[in-house]
């Protein structure tokens, strides 16, 4: 039950963290999918979360965005508790509006893109600019075109999602998230639903973002990408963080047996 947990302010870390989680747990019915996870993300840091399917990595990301309410522990975005509040000593869910406020700095990209099919590429990008930021259609279109430009799709502005390739859809989805000027971007397996030859164009956009200093959390199966782009890699298994560290150490000298095994399986599949 999501009650009676610590509500104290987050302990200050080295740099002021944008996202910070303390001891979060999550159960789906009887199944514990996350167990006591601590997480901290500094500005401009790129963290990749890897692990076998069912390890809880997507659930972790969804809890950090409060798309799944976590049961125990706390998540702070920019120092503000996400999803819960203290009401006379009891922990209760906040309003949807408050959730929106606290996670406003977070942009999210999904495995299955989730573009709105009745809106053109440009309208997908400008929708929130108009509804949330109150921009006029003209101003929103200018901003939106700049975003599409950034992901190399200005020439597809008037296309509906059904006529875009998977890679193009995902790039529109990235532009849509970027339009709201997020301070941190969450990617939930952004290339897992793509044909192999379309993975590159999406990863290229993400590399560019990382190089520009965007703070990112990326749940991914792309080990090569993680090795090149991540500042830190987190390996999860069975709802726990097994090991984490810079990619050079994590991939070259994995300490835990579970990670060694995971990496070996991966190598066997990709190098043969």
């Amino acid at each position: 039950m999501p009650t009676a947990d610590t509500l104290s302010a987050p302990t200050p870390t080295r740099q002021k963290a944008i996202v910070e989680a303390h001891g979060i747990s999550k159960q789906f019915g009887e199944l514990e999918v996350l167990t006591n996870i601590d997480f901290s993300l500094a500005p401009s840091e790129v963290v990749c979360v890897i692990g076998p399917s069912g390890s809880g990595k997507s659930t972790l990301l969804r809890c950090l965005a409060f798309l799944e309410p976590y049961d125990h522990g706390s998540v702070y975005i920019d120092g503000q508790l996400l999803g819960y509040e203290d009401r006379s000593g009891k922990r209760v869910r906040t309003s949807e509006k408050r959730v929106d406020e606290v996670r406003a700095p977070v942009g999210m990209v999904f495995q299955h893109f989730h573009l709105w099919p009745h809106r053109t590429a440009l309208e997908n990008v400008t929708e929130a600019l108009r509804l949330v930021n109150g921009l006029s259609r003209r101003d929103a279109d200018v901003d939106g075109m700049a975003m599409l430009e950034q992901v190399g799709l200005a020439d597809r502005a008037g296309h509906f999602p059904e006529s875009l390739s998977g890679g193009q859809k995902q790039r529109v989805a990235i532009a849509r998230a970027l339009a709201m000027k997020p301070r941190v971007m969450f990617f939930d397996e952004p290339t897992s639903a793509l044909d192999p030859e379309l993975v590159g164009e999406v990863l290229d956009v993400m590399k560019k973002l990382a190089a520009d200093g965007m703070t990112m959390v990326i749940v991914t199966h792309e080990m090569g990408f993680a090795a090149k782009v991540a500042d830190r890699v987190i390996f999860m298994d069975q709802g726990r963080v097994v090991e984490s560290g810079p990619p050079s150490t994590l991939f070259r000298q994995p300490k835990s047996e579970r990670l060694q095994q995971f990496l070996n399986t991966w190598r066997e599949r990709h190098i043969d």
Partner: protein, 218 residues
């Protein structure tokens, strides 16, 4: 049959007008209320879902003729005087609200949850998400069953003759008993109902063709 149409067209047209006024009012009101009831049926709060489900079950599960008589006789009992035509509009509205809500509910359930999550992550409020992301797609998805419901209400409006509203059906009965030509008269009435419904079906088909963009998939 054409003789009947020619000789009695002023009354027939008046009856048809009443039929159209009653049914189209009910359909339009039912559209607004139906959307709201569909939101109620899909609410995450059981306390909202439950009474909405009860309402839906009652109006969908009892005959429309009985509903008409209930409204017509019940309202005066609780001190509300109401003209037959208003009682008719009220009943048809309450009835079609339940059916339209059920149509919209099924449409809403076909929108992938991820699209809603994407909207919420972009900061779009729950209400705006319904208005701008969910409902435009739901109207496209549900246009065929919605057209069906509109036609059903138009035909069911013939039942309101029992509470003495002089719509097309009742006018036809009057002409039939006056002219002793029931078959011709009712054929003429059938022709008028059919004409209106064909026009409605054409409008619906036109709207379906005109829609641009894709639909929710997955």
């Amino acid at each position: 049959m054409f003789e009947i149409l020619l000789n009695h067209y002023p009354v027939l047209l008046k009856g048809l007008t009443t039929t159209l006024v009653v049914s189209l009012s009910a359909i339009a009101l039912g559209l607004v209320l139906g959307v709201l009831l569909a939101f109620g049926l899909t609410s995450r709060y059981r306390l909202v879902r439950w009474p909405c489900g009860l309402y839906r079950s009652f109006w969908r599960g009892t005959p429309i003729l009985l509903q008409l008589l209930l409204v017509y006789y019940l309202l005066p009992e609780i001190g509300i005087e109401i003209a037959p035509i208003h009682a008719a509009i009220l009943t048809l509205t309450l009835n079609t609200t339940a059916f339209q809500a059920e149509i919209f509910r099924s449409g809403i359930s076909h929108i992938p949850a991820g699209q809603i999550e994407a909207a919420r992550m972009a900061g779009i409020s729950a209400w705006q998400t319904r208005r701008r992301i969910i409902m435009p797609q739901v109207f496209r998805l549900t246009l065929p069953p919605l057209t069906n419901e509109i036609i059903t209400i138009l035909k069911n409006s013939s039942l309101i003759s029992v509470i003495a509203v002089t719509e097309l059906m009742r006018v036809s009965e009057q002409i039939a008993s006056r002219t002793f030509q029931p078959l011709e008269t009712y054929l003429a009435a059938a022709l008028l109902y059919l004409a209106v419904n064909l026009v409605l079906a054409r409008i619906s088909a036109y709207l379906e063709r005109r829609m641009v963009g894709g639909l929710a998939t997955e």
